[in-house]
């Protein structure tokens, strides 16, 4: 620590160590210079603490909220929708398209009339066998569960927002 003032400010602010605090307290008690300076700084501290805050214009809150509302209105629709839902829908369509493409490729008759060249024989799984009524039922059941899960998610969010 350097000057008397610095020591005293630390003492007033309570930022000195307990040992320093005790030492300064004893100096204030015994030394008139310290005591006078301490009283002067204490008065100054009270004066600084009593400074007044400026008042913003009356319509300040309203103006800020108008800006906030304007930002909300300008927000594109894609930003207001949960990105996970968008990704989920995207993934569903991509998988469906891929499945259809693969199925179509496997179902095509690659024989080309009199041409000598023949498609190499590939050991493809028989998809017609896979698309049995059981598989379709399972697929529909999965869809129903997914729908219920999403509905639950939406309802929960609404309930939380209402409770808040």
């Amino acid at each position: 620590m350097n000057s008397i003032e610095e020591k005293l400010w630390n003492y007033i602010d309570g930022t000195c160590t307990p040992a320093e605090h005790a030492a300064i307290a004893s100096l204030i008690e015994q030394d008139a210079i310290y005591r006078n300076k301490y009283n002067e700084l204490l008065a100054l501290n009270a004066e600084f603490a009593g400074m007044e805050l400026d008042e913003p214009p009356m319509a300040f809150t309203y103006n800020v909220m108008e800006q906030v509302r304007a930002e909300h209105a300008l927000k594109p629709l894609k930003a207001t929708i949960d990105a996970r839902i968008i990704k989920g829908i995207g993934a569903f369509f991509i998988l469906t398209i891929l499945a259809l493409v693969v199925y179509a490729l496997f179902s095509v008759n690659w024989h080309m009339g009199n041409m000598e060249w023949k498609m190499p024989k590939l050991n493809m799984p028989q998809l017609s066998g896979l698309l049995s009524s059981g598989v379709i039922k399972a697929f529909l059941f999965f869809d129903a569960v997914l729908c219920l899960y999403l509905a639950d998610h939406v309802l929960r969010r609404k309930k939380t927002a209402k409770a808040a």
Partner: protein, 193 residues
């Protein structure tokens, strides 16, 4: 007795889409944010612009508020960066705390006072006038410490500085404020005689 929601509760409500909760947060902090902005801008129009900008930025980034510090500390850090950007745009030199030569004093009459009305010239008026003559950094540190209910660590967080640096800044700012206040009061006493 009606329960007064905490800042955290108001933030949660705002995030859930309740705009009136955010309006309440603004009402709670607007005086201090405006005063702090005024310490940097030195005129009410710019201060209002900075303060409004701060609240809009805070709303935009409300989701990133982790709750590890006080909301006010987080908000004041936004005020500081917004004010600094504003000052840089306005090309007002505020870089060095020690460089008194770079300081440009711009009008900062406290609201509600008439300079020509001697009766209104209280010590509080002169205190505001003296703060207006300080460097923006000094004025901000003094205001944060005395009116922002912020500890030295919180001020350091808001101003993105070390706590020790803030302690030194506060000490120097108080010295300068004391000198300016004494000068103003001496000048006033001479005027009255």
């Amino acid at each position: 007795m009606q329960h007064k929601p905490t800042d955290i509760e108001l933030i949660e409500q705002s995030l859930a889409g309740d705009q009136s909760a955010y309006a309440e947060l603004i009402r709670r902090n607007q005086r201090f944010v405006f005063t702090l902005a005024l310490r940097f801008a030195k005129n009410r129009e710019d201060a209002e612009e900075i303060a409004q900008d701060c609240f809009v930025k805070a709303y935009r980034n409300l989701q990133s508020f982790q709750g590890q510090s006080k909301f006010s500390t987080w908000l004041y850090s936004i005020v500081y960066t917004t004010a600094m950007t504003h000052l840089r745009k306005k090309r007002v030199a505020t870089d060095s705390i020690d460089d008194e030569d770079t300081f440009i004093q711009i009008e900062n009459k406290p609201s509600g006072y008439d300079v020509n009305n001697v009766e209104n010239r209280s010590r509080s008026y002169y205190l505001n006038l003296a703060i207006g003559q300080l460097l923006p950094d000094d004025a901000a540190v003094i205001t944060l410490f005395y009116k922002g209910e912020q500890s030295l660590d919180e001020i350091a967080q808001a101003l993105n500085m070390e706590a020790n640096t803030v302690k030194v800044k506060l000490f120097r700012a108080r010295q300068r404020l004391k000198e300016k206040l004494e000068r103003l009061l001496k000048h006033e006493a001479k005027e009255l005689i």
